[in-house]
């Protein structure tokens, strides 16, 4: 027991923390081993690491920067701390960022179809073309911005009347 406690003091957590982590790493190692046997292991590793870099160091900073720009364009109305004044004008910022985020998310997920980069394999598999998807994405994005704008106008009108 004393030696276990000493291990905890050195390690920085209890023995179960270490044991469960090791169990988790063992399963991950087993899975990695099979990926390695199936060919192109370095390409797998590359995509694995690239996924972290692409999200944490590129995508997230990028949309945060766009956000910061949008803050300047459409500053959220500064409100005094405490309860909001009844009838305060709505924030234009949110009516921009929500449709922009939805549109961006759709592009992020469906860019192979929207930008047509999947055309060759998609056409070979389905006998169809990716042609329609750019138009559909633009249409959906337009609908998002329009709907958001209409809601904004209604809320503004209501706030002005209040």
């Amino acid at each position: 027991m004393a030696s276990l406690r000493r291990l905890g003091d050195e390690y920085g957590a209890g023995p179960l923390h270490l044991l469960s982590a090791l169990a988790s790493f063992a399963v991950a190692g087993w899975a990695f081993m099979h990926v390695f046997q199936l060919g192109a292991p370095f390409n797998f590793l590359l995509w694995f690491v690239a996924a972290i870099v692409a999200h944490d160091l590129i995508l997230l900073p990028l949309y945060s920067l766009v956000e910061r720009g949008a803050h300047r364009l459409a500053p959220a109305r500064a409100r005094p701390a405490g309860a909001p004044k009844a009838g305060a004008a709505p924030s234009a910022l949110n009516h921009l960022r929500v449709p922009a985020a939805l549109s961006g998310l759709l592009l992020l997920l469906f860019f192979p179809l929207v930008l047509g980069v999947a055309e060759e394999d998609y056409a070979a598999a389905s006998g169809l073309s990716t042609d329609v998807y750019l138009g559909r994405w633009l249409l959906l994005s337009g609908v998002f911005f329009l709907a958001s704008g209409v809601v904004y106008a209604i809320r503004r009108g209501r706030a002005a009347r209040a």
């Binding site: 920085g12 469960s20 899975a31 995509w47 694995f48 972290i52 909001p84 998310l105 469906f110």
Partner: protein, 442 residues
């Protein structure tokens, strides 16, 4: 209970400091760099609570799909044996009794997986300050947790992203999708279980202290930061909230539901296919008898009209060998069934198929009790030019060598002159352009 869990699995004060370099206190490494007042244990916990059931659905249906492929049978597997779980999969025979089973399984898999993505991205946003923690590594336990988080985030993004690209038939990588997605999921689940064990007390405390729904009642103006000591992701220099937590979660939820609905549209098909606006199989294919989605065109696997013309023969191998023309097959007793064909990619289509029951052909070849049927296609290349049906699939009276669909001859892209249609069989195993059936008796 929570305290016991924390004591057993949580990190402790103290522990030997590892001699790791400490990043300069600049830019994102400064805690006051992060300004959003929304980040904190409660927000992360709510997102996790929403994410977890979707991940469980994906994991269970993913494994069931692997079972449905009956990978131990000849020609059915693209993953090979893993030596550990494969013998268990081999014991589990995918049933043919419920024709909609595979369509449901894959529908759930893809709907849940795609719907999880906005929540996953929001969750990663909510904890991003932890990536820039200073010092980067404190104790050995801390290093272990961070390594596990790297596995969790890397495999999570990898698995969801490869899945989304696969349903669009886009493969910008060199590895094979199926085994990479499968084994990547094991890495993800292994890291996730450890993450849950370590973080459950954080979630329990956040919900106990702030309530599960109470923060949803706050407007943007009422939004305050969570206590700074409750999590490293809480801002120490927050700006005024520009959106409430309920606003953020509402947008994430709307994205999740919207994406899920698109996938439901292509999974259920029929009148709901209109919902699949941006989904890969959301394109209207027309109204003719053969106008329903194709998984692989004849041209893509080198099948030509000449090969399937009058010279085509079906070879049947059992106790006897037979060679049948298409007219021979059409003269045999025909059977008609309305059956779905469901792709691993999460879309399905239900049609009226007609043809000769597999059991009928087995009888003609002198095989009574069937153990399995090995089916071979004319196609060249492609991962599934052949497949083996298990005993239940072979014996089901609805399992057909289909010759017509919706009253018309099959089109070349749908497998003319003859294709396999078996209840609840993964779509790609419903072999098209069949040229040989080999029956194994029990």
């Amino acid at each position: 209970m929570i305290r016991a869990l924390e004591k057993a699995f949580g990190m402790r004060e103290g522990g030997r400091r590892l001699p790791a370099p400490v990043p300069p206190e600049r830019g994102p490494f400064r805690r006051d760099f992060w300004k959003s007042p929304l980040r904190g244990a409660w927000l992360s916990s709510v997102l996790s609570a929403a994410l977890l059931p979707l991940i469980v659905v994906c994991a269970v249906t993913g494994l069931l799909s692997h079972v449905a492929y009956d990978t131990e049978l000849a020609g059915n597997s693209v993953t090979g044996s893993d030596g550990l779980l494969s013998p268990i999969y081999a014991e589990l025979d995918w049933p043919a009794g419920w024709p909609w089973l595979y369509a449901l399984n894959q529908g759930l898999h893809v709907v849940a997986g795609v719907a999880a993505i906005p929540i996953l991205l929001a969750k990663l946003w909510s904890v991003i300050p932890k990536l820039w923690e200073r010092p980067a590594v404190r104790t050995a336990a801390h290093a272990v947790e961070r390594l596990s988080l790297a596995l969790l985030v890397g495999s999570g993004l990898f698995v969801f992203f490869t899945g989304v690209l696969n349903i669009q038939i886009y493969y910008p990588w060199q590895f094979s999708f199926v085994p990479s997605h499968l084994y990547g999921s094991f890495i993800f689940l292994a890291a996730l279980v450890f993450h849950i064990v370590v973080k459950l007390p954080t979630m329990a405390r956040a919900f106990r202290e702030r309530g599960v729904v109470r923060p949803l009642k706050e407007s943007a103006a009422q939004t305050t930061v969570e206590p700074v000591e409750s999590s490293e992701s809480v801002s120490t220099a927050p700006r005024a909230a520009t959106i409430s937590r309920r606003g953020l979660l509402g947008a994430v939820g709307a994205a999740s539901v919207g994406l899920g609905a698109m996938m439901v549209g292509q999974s259920v098909g029929g009148p709901l296919r209109g919902l699949a606006f941006l989904a890969p199989r959301g394109v209207d294919t027309g109204v003719g008898p053969n106008d329903f989605p194709v998984n692989k065109t004849a041209a893509s696997v080198g099948v030509t009209p000449e090969q399937t013309a009058a010279a085509w023969r079906l070879n049947v191998v059992g106790r006897f060998e037979l060679s049948l023309t298409r007219d021979d097959l059409l003269r045999l007793p025909q059977s008609s069934h309305r059956l779905p064909i469901a792709c691993v990619e999460g879309w399905s289509t239900t049609q009226d198929w007609s043809g000769v029951p597999i059991v009928e052909l087995a009888g003609m070849a002198g095989v009574g009790e069937l153990e399995s049927v090995f089916v071979e296609s004319l196609q060249e290349g492609g991962a599934f030019g052949q497949t083996t049906l298990n005993a239940a699939q072979a014996a089901d009276p609805r399992s057909l060598l289909a010759l017509t669909v919706n009253g018309a001859d099959l089109s070349l892209d749908h497998g003319f002159p003859a294709r396999l249609i078996v209840p609840a069989l993964p779509g790609v195993h419903n072999t098209k352009w069949v040229e040989r059936l080999t029956f194994q008796s029990a």
